[in-house]
């Protein structure tokens, strides 16, 4: 075992002698402290290693040859070892960041820096309460002093505020210690713990003072103005030090004191932590200054840690578990927050919008991305697992308020961090950065460290399974080979995914799972071809793309809730990254991730109320005999509806679908939305025992679906932007699927799935064809195109097939989906819903005609006269989709029968539904009907070919005429712009029904956003910048908490 005394002695000796060493050479002293910090960190790791192999080792060391209550004891257990290792490592990284400062500032700064770390180490190690006061003061005073490395006015002012606040809190702490000593007669925490509880009010006061002293050092909202000013103005190296090392050590002190608190006190402080988390994030929402934003975020994260430690302890979890969970949050925050502060120092940009400077430096951008994403709790970072567990525990113990607070705070966090990331990734880039190695080094180490810690944590985490790693591995591997040509990467990706899909994904799945696997993974693989159209390396697509597809497969393959959620979050993240690749996709991507996160958090809450699943046994199989309550079903349902873009929560959808790159939009629309369908289906399976078609809930779901279909279609009619049109069209189609699912009947589900499959084909097809059009014309506004049928016949044919399929005109497969949806609805007596569905599908004709007419027909534009057909890579997927559509149109049985079988596993096929050859016969007591897709196809071919032959016979030699060979107002027009009837094509329709699509939802969400931002701004007003006011805050806060505690 390592004697912790040696650790402290080493720090002290170095600190005392550094002045002398510095006389020899400045660099000697700097490298000496590097060595000391690394050795200290190594001692931590060594101790950890020792303890892992020898868990029963005594870990307590006394001083002065006396044992505990008499002397001061240090404890160097597992937790302490982890902290010592990490804190010193970060001390080292921070020191290397400050290398230049040290060169200028001299030995004092170096000694001060070392003493900060000494204080932190001592605080972690000591088990004596007064001794911890001493180390706390060492830590604080050293921090006060080191603020002065940057002697500008602001940091001096912030320093004074900090010192005053620190002085007050340590005075409270000190007086609390001594008052408590009066009752306990000991200063040793362990001895204290073994005492029987003391119940007098005076003791409670003492405890309270002690606790509040430490607590205020943890910067709780709203008594944290001083800390924010400090984060904003201090040198970023120092700010990083404070937010990581300093806070971590004090937090650990808080943790050590926690067992001493009365439950009431702990409850109050825990609540205060949660408040701090939520409000810190709320105020950060409107913050434009990067360092101050990080300050808010940092206080929020500390609040979160305080909260989770307290809450989990209050719920009676074993300490080992509490610590493991908190460690996940802590490590993420440590790496990411200090990294972000360092990054702030490297970019030297305070305004968030100026962070676009990172665009020129993809390495730094990636590092920034890692930090931001980790902070938000996306997988595979440790905070993801921590949050997962916390929410699960809250759910199990029904701590709803806590859960809600945690989730709201997290959502706010997502908003501002993602906005920031958006600025960095998508803003206007102006200049280059100066990047000294000493500052880059810690950044790279912490990003790499965070990534590798996460990777190993994910590997080791129970209930994960190797499958769940694939998306991450794919991301990393394709990230490493991202410089290769895009064609090669495409082939590799297709090969890898196909092999994986065939040998790993499909075999264990039941029919329903295989079906979705084919839709999700198969549908995506086909569309990989489209990405291969890019020239050169086209960096940035394939890591996210492959991660997305693997994650999609994993959603189907999940056997535990965690696996499902992990895959879901990875999918969301990958989709976000893909959307962000779009040229103007900053806002769209932000909307996407915010709504997705909202959904994900609902899902998280829902999962926490759901019974545990059996590991190693697919959820989709378990769903058959498991049941969940209505509340989790509701939460999960809403979560999936968000992903599908149901009306009301569709706000993100048109933006994301239209601003993403065209290939991405295609995948988003045709594939990704089906993940939502899959989820919703699972939920319905889970509640199928006690919910029937006529339940109010299912009726409501049906109406949601119907209105989604209706409003989606109606809004699509009024778009000028082809991609927006397609986006709304997707929304509309998904509405049908929701209606079908809501029926909870065999036929209903078959129709929903049939539609899902169809939608994949035709929407993928149209998107691909339109991608080709956008590529060649360089615009998305339909009225700027026209007459492209002659230039891009293949695209035209694809779109033609697509719109026939979408509209449901026989003989293509689209009619099948209409037939299914109507019959299943009518069979259940949902007449009014049928009518509205019918109306929406009639409206679909409007936008579909507009799409094909304004783009491909009408007058060609002169500036598009050199437009060529699309590259082969975009045509391959189109060909595949056309073949698929034709196949299921001519032989509908190849899809309807398997679908019926797949659904039959969950809802048995009724006897009145039969196949008579290709004739699908429905003989239910309430409805008779039939559909013979095969025969329809032949009849249609017949009635089409006969007149065609006739026409060819009588009119074989037609004369081709030029574009303007029409008579327009008695003249030949020569202005295609005015002759092409395209802009605002359905003006009359807008006059009649436009009032229905006033942007109410937009107004609502804008209002919500504005409300939050002004709330945030109002709250931020309490930070007046006056040091005295901050002190007043501290005192009033103390009094407030005291009154809450209600000591009698």
């Amino acid at each position: 075992m390592v004697n912790p005394m040696l650790l402290l002695a080493m720090f002290l000796i170095t600190a005392f002698l550094i002045a002398l060493l510095d006389k020899l050479h400045r660099k000697i002293s700097i490298y000496t402290i590097y060595a000391v910090l690394l050795i200290a960190s190594g001692m931590g790791f060594w101790q950890l290693n020792t303890l892992l192999y020898n868990p029963n080792l005594s870990v307590v060391v006394f001083s002065a040859g006396f044992s505990a209550p008499l002397s001061i004891s240090l404890q160097f257990g597992v937790v302490e070892a982890v902290l010592v290792a990490l804190l010193n490592l970060f001390g080292f990284l921070g020191a290397s960041y400050l290398y230049r400062r040290f060169l200028q500032s001299g030995a004092q700064a170096i000694a001060l820096y070392l003493l900060v770390l000494l204080g932190a180490n001592g605080l972690v190690l000591t088990r004596d309460i007064f001794n911890s006061f001493v180390f706390l003061e060492i830590l604080s005073i050293a921090t006060y002093a080191i603020i002065a490395v940057d002697q500008n006015k602001n940091s001096l002012v912030a320093g004074i505020k900090y010192m005053l606040a620190g002085g007050i809190s340590s005075t409270l702490f000190l007086i609390g210690i001594v008052l408590a000593y009066r009752y306990t007669g000991t200063l040793n925490i362990d001895t204290w713990l073994s005492l029987s509880p003391i119940k007098t009010p005076g003791y409670t006061v003492a405890l309270f003072l002690m606790a509040i002293g430490v607590f205020i050092e943890l910067k709780p909202f709203p008594a944290n103005g001083w800390a924010l000013d400090l984060y904003q103005s201090a040198d970023k190296g120092v700010a990083s030090l404070i937010s990581s090392v300093n806070t971590a050590a004090i937090l650990f002190l808080y943790y050590k004191l926690m067992p001493l608190f009365t439950p009431a006190l702990l409850e109050i402080l825990t609540g205060a932590g949660l408040i701090s988390f939520v409000f810190g994030n709320l105020i950060a929402l409107r913050q434009k200054n990067a360092s101050r934003l990080l300050g808010y975020s940092s206080t929020a994260q500390t609040g979160l840690l305080v909260f989770s430690l307290g809450a989990l302890s209050l719920l009676g979890l074993p300490q080992g578990m509490v610590l493991r969970i908190a460690l996940g949050l802590f490590i993420t925050n440590l790496f990411a927050k200090s990294g972000l502060f360092w990054l702030c120092g490297v970019t030297k940009r305070n305004n968030l919008q100026d962070w676009s400077v990172l665009r020129s430096d993809s390495g730094l951008l990636i590092i920034f991305g890692i930090f931001a994403v980790a902070l938000m709790g996306f997988p595979p970072f440790p905070s993801f697992f921590a949050k997962w567990q916390i929410i699960q525990i809250f759910g199990a113990s029904q701590a709803w308020m806590w859960m809600a607070g945690l989730l709201i705070g997290s959502l706010l966090e997502v908003v501002y961090l993602m906005r920031w990331l958006g600025f960095a990734a998508k803003g206007e880039s102006q200049s280059t950065l100066e990047k000294p190695f000493s500052k880059l080094f810690p950044l790279m180490v912490s990003a790499l460290g965070l990534a590798s810690v996460s990777y190993y944590l994910t590997l080791m985490y129970p209930q994960i399974g190797t499958n769940s790693i694939y998306p991450i591995m794919a991301f990393i591997l394709f990230g490493l080979i991202d410089i290769l040509p895009v064609k090669l990467k495409g082939v590799l990706a297709i090969a890898a995914l196909s092999l994986w899909g065939w040998f790993v994904l499909l075999p264990p799945l039941p029919l329903m799972g295989q079906l979705f696997a084919l839709i999700l993974v198969g549908g995506s693989i086909v569309q990989i071809f489209a990405f291969m159209r890019y020239q050169g390396a086209a960096e940035g697509f394939f890591p996210s793309l492959t991660m997305l597809i693997f994650a999609l497969g994993n959603i189907v393959l999940a056997s535990t809730k965690l696996q499902f959620f992990l895959a879901w979050e990875l999918m969301t993240l990958a989709a976000y990254l893909l959307i962000l690749k779009g040229k103007k996709a900053r806002v769209a991507a932000l909307l996407f991730i915010v709504f997705s996160s909202f959904g994900a958090y609902l899902m998280l809450a829902g999962f926490s109320m759901m019974p545990n699943t059996v590991e190693g046994y697919l959820i989709i199989l378990q769903a058959n005999f498991m049941a969940i309550d209505w509340l989790p079903a509701l939460l999960l349902g809403v979560a999936f509806l968000i992903k599908m873009g149901a009306v009301g929560v569709h706000y993100w959808l048109p933006a994301a679908y239209s601003e993403a790159d065209d290939e991405t939009s295609s995948i988003l629309s045709s594939v990704l939305s089906k993940a939502g369908v899959f989820g919703l289906l699972m939920v319905l399976i889970l509640i199928s025992r006690f919910v029937s078609s006529s339940s109010i809930s299912m009726m409501a779901l049906g109406w949601i679906g119907v209105f989604t279909a209706f409003f989606g279609a109606l809004m699509a009619v009024f778009q000028e932007d082809a991609k927006k049109l397609l986006a709304y069209s997707s929304m509309s189609q998904l509405g049908y699927i929701v209606v079908g699912l809501s029926l909870m009947t065999h036929l209903g589900w078959v129709s929903a799935l049939y539609l899902a499959v169809n939608h994949l084909f035709f929407k993928g097809l149209i998107f691909m064809a339109m991608a080709a059009v956008f590529l060649r014309t360089g615009t998305r506004n339909m009225y700027e195109m026209g007459g492209l049928i002659k230039k891009m016949p293949i695209a035209f044919i694809s779109v033609l097939m697509g719109i026939i399929a979408v509209s449901g005109v026989p003989p293509l497969s689209g009619f099948g989906s209409k037939w299914f949806i109507y019959t299943s609805l009518l069979e259940q007596g949902r007449y009014l819903q049928t009518a509205l569905v019918f109306f929406s599908s009639a409206i679909a004709f409007l936008y579909l005609y507009r799409l094909i007419h304004t783009v491909f027909l009408g007058q060609a534009k002169p500036n598009q006269k050199d437009v060529k057909e699309a590259p082969i890579w975009l045509i391959i997927p189109q060909g595949i989709f056309i073949m698929a559509i034709m196949a299921i149109s001519v032989f509908p049985n190849i899809i309807t029968k398997p679908l019926s079988l797949a659904v039959g596993d969950y809802i048995a096929k009724p006897e009145w539904l039969n196949w008579d050859g290709y004739n699908l016969v429905l003989n239910s007591p309430t409805l008779h009907g039939n559909w013979n897709g095969n025969l329809v196809m032949y009849v249609t071919m017949g009635v089409f070919i006969i007149p065609l032959i006739w026409l060819l016979l009588v009119n074989a030699r037609t004369q081709k005429v030029k574009q303007f060979n029409i008579v327009f107002a008695a003249e030949r027009p020569y202005k295609p712009w005015t002759t092409h009837f395209a802009y605002n094509m359905f003006a009359h329709y807008e006059k009649a029904l436009g009032f229905l699509v006033k942007p109410r939802v937009t107004a609502f969400y804008k209002g919500v956003a504005e409300g939050f931002h002004s709330l945030s701004a109002t709250l931020a007003r309490i930070y007046t910048g006056n040091g005295q006011t901050y002190m007043l805050h501290i005192f009033l806060y103390t009094i407030f908490l005291y009154l809450l505690l209600g000591v009698k």
């Binding site: 060391v61 002065a64 001061i72 001060l112 001794n131 003061e137 007669g185 007098t200 007043l1032 000591v1047």
Partner: protein, 232 residues
């Protein structure tokens, strides 16, 4: 106005927080067990009459080490903050004859007294810090009197560094000589005779070192405040 009201509320509130404690406070009539064992242990195990010193230097020696560190920190911090590139010219007038003479006369005595205090810290009231402060006050007197007396910066820093270093070494000596739990244990030197100045193990040495350390730190602070900090 609102602000005054809030301050009033804050002060009343803080007073109110202490109320329950004051209400039930009664001066105890006997020592608690920990204090008793300190008193007994100090006399019996350490052979030290001054129980406070026993606690400060031995039992809770780690606190004291921390305390020394805090002093060092303050010095370094003040020096760092008030650091100047060039010494500015002092525009203060010369001291009067009486002050000069008095100060010159008293300073050695004061320093001597300081040494006495920390050398006898284990026997009588007093100790390293007190001694150090007294010594520093002597130098303060010189500074106030504006006698053209220059600290040797190097000397001060050297004594700061080396005394701190020796203190830690003395602590480590316990660790080396007496075992893993004996950091800062002074008992590797003989306990000596009761009330003897060379007794109670290494305590007198430690306290002297603390005295030197404290004195030089405070001198350094005085120097920094007077002349601005120095580039170390």
């Amino acid at each position: 106005m609102i602000k005054y009201l809030l301050v009033f509320v804050a002060i009343i509130g803080i007073g109110y927080i202490f109320l329950p404690f004051v209400m039930e406070f009664s001066t105890p009539t006997k020592l608690n067990p920990l204090a008793t064992s300190y008193v007994q242990g100090s006399v019996n195990e350490l052979n030290m009459p001054n129980v406070v010193t026993a606690i400060v230097v031995t039992y809770r020696g780690l606190d004291t080490l921390g305390e020394v560190t805090v002093l060092f920190l303050a010095t370094a911090g003040v020096g760092f903050l008030l650091k100047r590139k060039h010494d500015m010219v002092n525009h203060r007038r010369k001291c009067s004859e009486i002050l000069c003479t008095g100060a010159s006369l008293l300073t050695p005595l004061i320093v001597l007294f300081g040494v006495y205090i920390f050398a006898h810290g284990h026997l009588s009231p007093g100790g390293g810090f007190q001694g150090g402060v007294v010594i520093a006050s002597g130098f303060l007197l010189l500074v106030m009197a504006n006698i053209s007396f220059h600290f040797s910066h190097n000397l001060i820093h050297f004594s700061e560094s080396i005394s701190g270093f020796i203190y830690v070494l003395l602590g480590l000596a316990g660790l080396v000589l007496l075992g893993a739990n004996s950091f800062l244990d002074p008992r590797y030197l003989p306990a000596g005779k009761w009330l003897d100045i060379v007794s109670t193990g290494a305590v007198p040495i430690i306290y002297s070192i603390i005295g030197i350390k404290g004195g030089s730190e405070l001198c350094s602070v005085i120097d920094s405040l007077q002349h601005g900090g120095t580039e170390l």
